[in-house]
């Protein structure tokens, strides 16, 4: 049981690090504002979720795990609001999404 907790925690931590790295590489490589918001959303949902899940499994059931559970709960409420506001203001100020096959 000890080994199961330890190895599952290591596995989820590496998965979260992989998603955060791929999200930040996408923040460099993607061509447009509206597609970079997609890459930032990958950091906010999957990276945060897996890293916090690994820390919850590592710490066991206590007050610390309850506080850790509050972090993805706040991100679940605030991340869609901020990305929606960024895309709305970018569209109103004249940026148009780049479509590849434009008629």
């Amino acid at each position: 049981m000890e080994y199961l907790i330890q190895y599952s925690s290591i596995f989820f931590l590496f998965l979260g690090c992989f998603f955060i790295l791929s999200g930040s590489i996408g923040l460099i490589k993607l061509p447009d504002v509206f597609s970079r918001i997609h890459a930032a959303g990958l950091i906010d949902t999957l990276g945060t979720g897996f890293v916090i899940l690994a820390l919850i499994i590592y710490s066991g059931f206590s007050l610390v795990s309850l506080k850790l559970f509050l972090i993805p709960l706040f991100i679940l409420f605030t991340s869609p609001i901020s990305s929606h506001a960024i895309s709305l203001f970018a569209y109103e100020s004249g940026h148009k999404p780049k479509a590849k096959n434009k008629k």
């Binding site: 690090c17 504002v33 930032a40 950091i43 972090i71 901020s82 004249g94």
Partner: protein
């Protein structure tokens, strides 16, 4: 040991986000990458607390996430007040 590898990975992704924040053509790219840096920094604070056996740092991570959201919305309201011209 595992936590230090995770902290190094967070640092590398923060370097990528700083590259986009310096080079980004429009201000919205800069705001987006600064928001991503804030999220990664909060995760780094939480992992750092577990790496040094002091889990009290989670309160600071919670505060950091809330202030990050407020800062993003405040900068966007500032750009909204400057009018709808192309920036």
């Amino acid at each position: 040991m595992i936590f230090f590898i995770a902290l190094a990975s967070f640092g590398l992704s923060i370097v990528f986000c700083i590259y986009r924040a310096v080079k980004g053509p429009s201000p919205f790219d800069r705001i987006l990458s600064i928001s991503s840096i804030g999220t990664i920094m909060a995760l780094g604070i939480a992992v750092h607390g577990f790496a040094f056996n002091r889990p009290d740092f989670i309160d600071i991570a919670l505060m950091y996430i809330l202030l990050n959201f407020l800062g993003t919305i405040a900068i966007l309201k500032f750009y909204k007040m400057k009018g709808n011209k192309k920036i």
